[in-house]
């Protein structure tokens, strides 16, 4: 590190560091591509990794194979069995990680995650009501009724948090405490419903609670993609303000940020992003908390980089966890992710404490 930087070299060094940070983004995207290939090979054993990439590319380009050839079968297996859950894993990973980064910045609290306002327990309550009692908000029952219930359930606690914060300005810590209280309330309702139900429903409800991509079909994807794309674009536009918020509410105000209004708008965006994922996949934990932390260890805390790189890392973690979940057994992806993610996270923290990792 130069001790006597000239202005030009500061600009140059700043841009150089930006490129190094973006390298982490590129590596994460390459990681996702590699796992997508491995995932596809697992769907149809008779093809190589490179053939899998070619078949995926050809499908995207609209190439059609002669029926009942190896490539035709591989194409059908890949796109009908594994590709919906691959896409769901990529989108859900990106969305939960972006929501996690947003929530941690909003609350100025490294322990915050997308579920800190009680979203997961609200969604769970909505879904379990549909599963156990058969009560749905819309006229449709079954899977789609449960999805709508979960979405509405997810929005209830965050709605309460926002209403309270509009009536009386609450500190970030108080907002999290309100969310935690609501979370306990919905969790106790869920527990009650699970106690009174039969064994089969209990198993389905439990898998949903842990988080799974087994039930994802192509019709689930458009809503997830649209909400994630719009929501993450919105978050990216606000990364400077999120950085300013990291100085604390009072300092952020003196830099021109209307903190209360900004926080409410961001909470609404975060809630819609998270609810649109959770209602399809169940409450996949760990990712929203850990992905932004992993990224901060690698590239520092500038949200301009933390948000997009967290999205790429979140996608990579979830698609890898789902690949492992699918290939080793029928373990829900939420369980696998925590099993492989926790030790990696732990090692990275130790690595950082030894002075490695940050790019400046």
């Amino acid at each position: 590190m130069s001790e006597n930087l000239h202005s030009d070299s500061l600009v140059e060094r700043y841009h150089h560091l930006t490129m190094r940070k973006l390298l982490v983004l590129v590596v994460s995207v390459i990681g996702v591509i590699i796992v997508v290939g491995l995932f596809s090979v697992s769907a149809y054993d008779n093809i190589s990794l490179m053939e899998a990439y070619r078949i995926i590319w050809d499908h995207i380009m609209g190439v059609e194979y002669e029926p009942r050839t190896t490539e035709w079968w591989a194409d059908r297996f890949i796109w009908n069995t594994v590709m919906p859950r691959i896409v769901a894993a990529i989108v859900a990973g990106a969305s939960l990680a972006a929501a996690g980064a947003l929530m941690q910045a909003l609350m100025n609290n490294p322990l915050a995650d997308p579920y800190s306002t009680g979203i997961s327990s609200g969604a769970c309550f909505g879904a379990i009501v549909a599963l156990v009692l058969g009560l749905t908000i819309t006229s449709t029952s079954g899977q789609s009724g449960m999805i709508v219930n979960a979405f509405v359930g997810a929005m209830i606690p965050v709605g309460v948090v926002i209403l309270i914060s509009k009536r009386m300005p609450l500190s970030p810590a108080a907002l999290i405490l309100v969310g935690t209280a609501l979370s306990y309330f919905f969790s106790s309702m869920v527990t009650y419903l699970l106690v009174i139900t039969d064994a089969d429903t209990l198993q389905n409800a439990y898998i949903w609670q842990v988080g799974t991509l087994d039930t994802i079909v192509w019709s689930s994807i458009p809503m997830m993609v649209v909400v994630t794309a719009v929501g993450s674009a919105f978050v990216m536009l606000l990364t400077r303000q999120l950085n300013v918020l990291s100085l604390g509410d009072a300092n952020a105000k003196t830099l021109g940020l209307d903190v209360e209004k900004f926080r409410v708008v961001c909470l609404i965006v975060m809630a819609i992003m998270t609810a649109s994922i959770v209602c399809f996949t169940g409450t996949i934990g760990f990712l929203g908390l850990v992905a932004p932390h992993l990224v901060r260890i690698l590239v520092g805390s500038d949200n301009k980089f933390v948000v997009p790189i967290s999205m790429a890392v979140g996608s990579f973690i979830l698609v890898l966890a789902d690949y492992i979940a699918m290939t080793i057994s029928d373990v829900p992806v939420g369980v696998v992710m925590s099993i492989i993610g926790s030790p990696i996270f732990f090692l990275l923290i130790l690595w950082q404490k030894k002075g490695y990792g940050t790019v400046y």
């Binding site: 590190m1 001790e3 006597n4 930087l5 000239h6 202005s7 500061l10 600009v11 060094r13 700043y14 560091l17 941690q104 910045a105 100025n108 609290n109 490294p110 536009l237 990364t239 400077r240 303000q241 950085n243 300013v244 990291s246 100085l247 604390g248 009072a250 300092n251 105000k253 003196t254 830099l255 021109g256 940020l257 209307d258 901060r296 520092g300 805390s301 500038d302 940050t358 400046y360």
Partner: protein, 303 residues
Amino acid sequence: MSGSTIRIDIEGVEFGYSANPVLKNINLSVNGPQLLSIIGPNGVGKSTLIHCINKILSPTKGVVYIDGQDVASTTLKELAKKVGYVPYASSDAFPLSVVDTVLMGRHPHSNWKSLDHDLDVVYETLRLINIEHLAMRSFDELSAGQHQKVMLARGLVQEPKVLLLDEPTSNLDIKHQMEVTRIMRDLSQEKGILVIMISHDLNIAAKYSDHMIMLYDGGVYAAGTPEEVLTAENIKTVYGVESDVIMSHGRPHIIMLDPLFDDNIKPLDDDVYVSSDNRVVDRMERDTIVRNVLKEPARGVTD
């Protein structure tokens, strides 16, 4: 107070927490550019007053005008272009590099992307307060004194007309206290800024300030030049301590007197003392003895 580029008028401002009033009917008019120090004991409302100027707090009564514009009806963004703020302490839950931390001061002037011009402004400011070598360090790796200098740089890159500083030198050693306060004084003249600084170091404040405001019991007890404000009587009333104020290089210099600590004279009873030659003396004679001892050339005090 002289100057004309920026003006702050505080009219009948009151503020309190629950039933406890902190500021009571504050009336002030301040013109820039200059270095103005706000002094007073702990809890008297110094920080509360500057928080009412930059809209962190809203007064329960009264109005603050900046250049004739009511602060209450000014947007935070517009206010941030005029008024910079350097806090006593800053959150570092998610520490950035020094350059990124200082860049945040450009927020009121910039869009989403940081421009090279902003980086140039940051570099020049870091150089001005001699911390350009810290540019790429992480904020959480710095000492408390370096933290304060970085936050000062952040306030300066905001390019404000008014810069509010909440104890900006509290974690600095004496050399850096003087350096930072002198920079603030020079900047107020060179850039035409009205710098308002809360300080507990009366001598540093007296040495560099153009004017001072002494707060006491929620109101303005004294305002004017350092010589007008820093009198032994004012210090006795406001801080409750005995002092001797002498002139040093044309500025008041305060010598604190502590009869309970001084080893040349000891208390015997209420307002009765024993001198080092075992004479019983009254309070007036004690003060004379103490002042004479403190003014000995060996103590290095210069009239």
